[in-house]
Each structure stands twice: as structure tokens, then as C-alpha cells.
């Protein structure tokens, strides 16, 4: 989730939520090797359920316009993330 100034591109706020699993060995330590993993902490999105997330933030007092974008990525590897869905909305704050 990113809120930025539409004219300069300056980012005012950035928020992120991640969903993944943590593999744990028999002593509760995080592991990567499939042969080491005996338990998991399931931090993924469960099937057939929806998950609400909230991002609530303020902007600099003189902000007149902001572009808020929400993008859902699926990351195959650390640096290989595919944008799956996106919603963008421009908000205006007229001078009081």
C-alpha cells in the first residue's frame, strides 16, 4: 500500500502485509531445509476465507492531493514478485 504525491511521486506513506509460512525444526528454530522442517508457523492466507487489513495514516498538513495504490503481489522468490491485482484512487483535500 503506497500513498504518494501524484505530481512529484514523493511517497508519503508505505505499508506492507506479508503472508508466508515459517518452517521450524524440532527445537522450534526457523529452518529452510525441507529435511529440517518438522513444524510450521502458518502465516499464509487460509483457503475459502477473506482477510481484512487496515492502513490508517495522516499526511502532511498542506497536502492537497494524494494517490493511494494497493497492490497485491505474489513473490515466487525474494526478488521475483508478480503484481496480481491493483487498485488506485486519487484523493483531494481542498483548502479549508
Amino acid at each position: 500500500m503506497t500513498a504518494k504525491d501524484p505530481s512529484t511521486g514523493k511517497v508519503w506513506y508505505r505499508g506492507k502485509r506479508e503472508y508466508f509460512e515459517v518452517g521450524l525444526d524440532i527445537q522450534g528454530r526457523m529452518r529452510y531445509g525441507a529435511w529440517q522442517i518438522k513444524e510450521i508457523l502458518d502465516l499464509s492466507l487460509p483457503p475459502r476465507l477473506s482477510r481484512p487489513e487496515r492502513f490508517l495514516f495522516t499526511l502532511p498538513p498542506d497536502t492537497r492531493e494524494v494517490e493511494v495504490g494497493v497492490t497485491l503481489y505474489y513473490c515466487l522468490k525474494d526478488h521475483q514478485c508478480i503484481p496480481v491485482r491493483q487498485t488506485v484512487k486519487r484523493l483531494r483535500y481542498p483548502r479549508l
Partner: protein, 305 residues
């Protein structure tokens, strides 16, 4: 006379064009209890190319699947298990029983390889990973190109692992029979048999879940079908793996998953309500409230596989 010969030639050409001369399909023979020691012979014996002539469309789909890259796509993890996991952490000898903890799913035909050949393949995986880490592209490409000839072939699913979901009921598959999900009798250069297991989620779950080796060791790759059974099915989901990953048009033996944008869009929904307002008392600061709802429509948790 000349006219008759010409007519005859035209008739022969006509039939030649309509019914091209084809050698009768060669009978497919697979090894029974014989172990193969030669790499090329091993590759050729189980190669999906043997099925390509009669099943070109399915072959082309399979070629694009991750089943066709089952070894080269997991070099790092398998090399790590063979170089560190077994010898250093478990302090066990690297034998076929231990290798099967990876290969039973990634290369099921390994059961028909000698211990020496199995070790040769493990050596290639370790060599590929070492070359990758050291940035030696030539060495890496050499190992990679050999490893890319090894994969989950047609014979693996349509014979070797076909009854894994219920070995007690079905017993051992006959090595000379190709098992299909088609209950009709068909004429083929190999024996065919109907295997109802091929249409079930249990068939896929053997590998796409917690793998239990013959010695009871559990191997948890990041493919946990448990969320399918305890999350999706338990909450009323009723589709099988095949119904999403195989049956829709354009999928088939390609078995698309998370690497396919259409699959991701099908499985993941996003609803975002974005509202601007002014926050505070008297000093009205611009603020934003973003309410996001993520919907997992897949038959398993995400990320998963």
C-alpha cells in the same frame, strides 16, 4: 498401356497422400526388475519423448510444466540435502534409501537406476550448485543441461506412482502397463489400464504434501496439501486439484500454478476501500483510511502448492 500406368501411379500417389506409409508403432517395453547403470540409457528408457509421437498435444503441455523441470528447478534445495543434510547433519551414508527422500517425488524412475547411477545424478546436482555459487557459468551449464534431461516423465505418473494413493487396494502397478484416467479400452502400442486414482486429489497429495519416507522421516517441502484437506475441504470446498490445475481449457498436463498469472488472479481477490478524511480537532490534518480485504479462492493456503 501408358495411360493405365499413369492412372495406376495417380491412384498410388492418392493413397500415399491419404494414408502415409507408417511403420507400425513400436511396442513400448519398460524394464521390470533390471536396474540401469548408464545415464543415457536411463534417460531414454523413461523419456516422455517416447510418448510424444502418439500424444503430441499432451507432450507439448507437459514440456511447459514444472514436472518437466522437477530436477533443475530444485537444484539448490536437493544439492543442500545431499551435500549437507544427509552427510553432515544426519551423519548418514548417502545411499538410495536416503536419496529417495528427494527423488521419490522429483525423479520417481530412480528406483530403476543402480546405486552408482543414482550417486552420479546426485553428483551432478552438487556440481551444478557449486558452479552456480562460484559463478562458473560454463560448468553450471554443462551440469544443468544433463540434469534437464531428468524429470517427472509420463511413465512416472502413469505407472510408477499411479497407485501410491492406495497401494493396499491396488497393489503394485504392472511395469508394462500405462495407466490412464480413461475407463474406455483403447488400442495402443502398450497395455493400458484404467486407474481411478489419477482423478483424485490423493494422487497429487502424495508429493504435494508432507512426504513420509519408508523409514518414517517426514520431509516438508513448501508444498503442503494439508491446507487442502483441513482448510479447503473442511470449510466446504469440493474441487479436486485436477479441477483447477488441469481440466480448464489450456491447462491440461501443463498444471499451471503460482508461476501463471491467470491462476494467481483466479485464486486471489483484492477489494480495497480507500477514503480520505481530515483527522484531529481544529487542526484538521489530511488522513487516509484504507480497508483492504484479501480473498483466497484457491483450494489451499497461499502461498502453497
Amino acid at each position: 498401356m501408358r495411360k493405365t500406368l499413369a492412372r495406376g501411379a495417380v491412384v498410388v500417389c492418392f493413397f500415399w497422400l491419404i494414408f502415409p506409409l507408417r511403420a507400425p508403432a513400436k511396442k513400448l517395453i519398460f524394464p521390470e526388475d533390471k536396474l540401469i547403470d548408464n545415464f543415457d540409457e536411463f534417460v531414454q528408457t523413461f523419456s516422455s519423448r517416447r510418448c510424444q509421437a502418439c500424444h503430441p498435444r499432451v507432450y507439448h503441455q507437459w514440456e511447459q510444466s514444472y514436472h518437466a523441470r522437477s530436477l533443475v528447478d530444485s537444484i539448490k534445495r536437493m544439492a543442500s540435502f545431499f551435500a549437507v543434510g544427509i552427510p553432515k547433519e544426519w551423519q548418514k551414508p548417502l545411499n538410495k534409501k536416503e536419496m529417495l527422500k528427494c527423488f521419490d517425488c522429483h525423479l520417481p524412475q530412480i528406483r530403476y537406476a543402480t546405486d552408482r547411477l543414482a550417486l552420479e545424478i546426485v553428483g551432478m546436482l552438487i556440481e551444478a550448485q557449486k558452479a552456480r555459487e562460484s559463478g562458473d557459468k560454463v560448468r553450471f551449464r554443462k551440469a544443468y543441461s544433463r540434469l534437464s534431461r531428468l524429470n517427472i516423465t509420463c511413465y512416472a505418473c502413469h505407472n510408477i506412482v499411479v497407485y501410491r494413493a492406495s497401494p493396499g487396494l491396488f497393489g503394485k502397478p504392472d511395469p508394462q502397463t500405462i495407466y490412464t484416467s480413461n475407463p474406455k479400452k483403447v488400442k495402443a502400442p502398450h497395455a493400458t489400464a484404467f486407474a481411478p486414482t489419477l482423478k483424485t486429489a490423493a494422487f497429487c497429495a502424495w508429493c504435494h504434501g508432507i512426504y513420509v519416507a519408508s523409514d518414517g522421516e517426514k520431509t516438508m517441502c513448501n508444498t503442503l496439501s494439508q491446507s487442502y484437506y483441513h482448510g479447503y475441504i473442511a470449510l466446504g470446498g469440493r474441487k479436486t486439484c485436477q479441477e483447477c490445475h488441469m481440466y480448464p481449457p489450456g491447462r491440461g498436463h501443463r498444471f499451471p500454478g503460482a508461476h501463471d498469472l491467470d491462476m494467481l488472479r483466479e485464486g486471489l481477490g483484492l477489494d480495497a476501500e480507500i477514503r480520505g478524511f481530515r483527522y484531529g480537532v481544529e487542526e484538521w490534518v489530511p488522513a487516509v483510511d484504507v480497508e483492504v480485504t484479501l480473498i483466497n479462492r484457491a483450494g489451499h493456503r497461499i502461498p502453497d502448492g
